[in-house]
Symmetry: C2
Subunit: 287 residues, 2 copies
Amino acid sequence: MGKTKDAWSIDPEKSLRASTVGPIADFDPASKPGFDGDRKTGEKLLAEYGRDLSDLQERLFAEGRSGGSRSVLLVLQGMDTAGKGGIVRHVGGMMDPQGLTVRGFGKPTREELAHDFLWRIRTALPPAGKIGIFDRSHYEDVLPVRVHGLVPEAKWRGRYALINEFERELVAAGTTVIKCALVVSKAEQTKRLTKRLDRPDKYWKYDPSDIEERAHWDAYLAAYQDIFDLTDTAVAPWYVIPADSKWFSRLAIARLLRDTLDGLDLQWPPADFNVAEQQRLVAALED
Amino acid sequence: MGKTKDAWSIDPEKSLRASTVGPIADFDPASKPGFDGDRKTGEKLLAEYGRDLSDLQERLFAEGRSGGSRSVLLVLQGMDTAGKGGIVRHVGGMMDPQGLTVRGFGKPTREELAHDFLWRIRTALPPAGKIGIFDRSHYEDVLPVRVHGLVPEAKWRGRYALINEFERELVAAGTTVIKCALVVSKAEQTKRLTKRLDRPDKYWKYDPSDIEERAHWDAYLAAYQDIFDLTDTAVAPWYVIPADSKWFSRLAIARLLRDTLDGLDLQWPPADFNVAEQQRLVAALED
C-alpha cells in the first residue's frame, strides 16, 4: 500500500463508523475524525489510494474473469449537494471503467413501482469481479419515502428488517458491502446552491425542490439516525462522511474502499493452462 | 479545445477512415496516418483531449438530464491483444464514470442465442446523455461467427444489411455512432502473448484459444475487409486504428471521440426555473 506517512491517527473504519460517531444531529460536517493532515497531505494520499485501488480492482476483475464470484458494492447516500456525484467522478474515476458499474436511483418509474422496492436494486447489482457504486439506493425507500409519508408508516418501518435480510443474502453470495452517508451542513448547502445559481454551466444541477427538501432537514436527520441504528450491521457497515470539505469526503471514501478491497486478500489467478507448453507454442509462431 | 500545437497534418476523421486507408491486408499497424508528432507530443495531446472529453461529456450528460435524447456509442473491435481493454481503461478512464456505460460482448449466452443477434446489443445501448463503449459488438456476428462457420453463409451474409439498418435507426433516434477497429501486426501480437506468459499477474489475460484464432488471420482480415466495404456508412463510420503503438491507438481514438462530441455542438441547458426568484429563496435560507 501507499508510502506517504499516514496522516490517519485513527483508521476511518473506526473513526467514521456510524455506530461510533454519536447522534447524527450533533455531528459536525466540517470535522475530520481520525485524520490529522491538511488538504495537501490529503490530496497526496488520495493519489496513492487511487493507485492502490486501481491495482486491487484489477485483481478483483481478474478473479471474476477466472471463475470467482466476489464483487464489491459501495452505497452512497446524502442530502442534496452533499457531493455524491463528485465521489463517483473523483473516486470512481480513479478506477478502470471496465471493472466498475455505476447506477443512480431517482424517483422510481411506473415499472419499478409495480415491483417490490428491492427489485430495481437487485437488477443493478455488480456482477462478479466488479465494483458497483450506487448513487442513492434502497435507502431512498426509508428516506424521502418516509419523510413525505409516501407509504404507510407500518410499511416503511418493516423495511429496515427487509434491508438487513437483503444485505445479508448479498454478502453471503460474495458481495462485500460498504455504505457511506455524506453529511453536509446547512451553511455549506446554502453556499453550493448559491454557486449553482451563479453559473449557467451549473443550472442543470439546480433543482428548486432541493429548497423544499431542506424544510424537512430534521426529519431527514431522524430518518438517517434510524438507518444507522437499525442497519449498521457487521456485514454491511455504515460510515458517516463529513462532506463540507469535498477533498476530505473523497479521501475518506477512497480509503474505506481501498481498505475494503485490501481485506479481500485478492490474488492473481493461477494459470489454468500449461505455461511452458504455451510458451513453446508462442515461440514457434511465425510473424 | 486544446492548446498544444496540433501534430495532426491530416484530421484522423479523414486519415483513418476505413474507406480511405486502402485494403486492410496491406495496412501497416505501426503507421500513424496523419500524425507527425512523436510519443511525447502524443501523450501531451492525449491529456488535452482528456480534458476536452471530460468537459464535453459533462455537457452531454447535462443535456440528457434536461430532457435531451442524444447519446454517443463507441464500438471497439480488434483481434486478440490489439488493446481494446486498454482503450476502455485509458480513454474511457479520462471521463466521468457517471456518464459512461461500458459493455463487453463475449460468447453469447444461451439466453442471447435464443434471440436475434441484435437483441443483446439493443439491451446494452447507452441511455440519453451517456457515452457507451462496446468492447466487441454486433460485429462479432460477422467475425468469429463467419470465420468459424457458426451459422450458414446466407445467414451471415444477410447481417451486413441488418446491421446498417439497425445503425441507421439508432442514429435517427439520437445516438451518434463511431466504430474503431484496432489492427495489430502478427509480430506485435507475438510480443504481447509472450509478455502475458512471462508475468503471473498477466496469466488471466492469456487464453490458449488466441493461438488457434491466429491460424485464421487471413480469414479475419477478409472478414474485416467486408465489414469496411459494406458497413462504413456516412452515419456510422468505421476507423482503422493502427495498434502496434498503444499510445498512438489511444491518442487516435480519444481524438476521434473528442471531435465527434465537439461536432454535436453541446450547450449547457438553460434554466427551467426562474433564476432570480430562486436566488432570492436561497439567500433567505437560514443556516
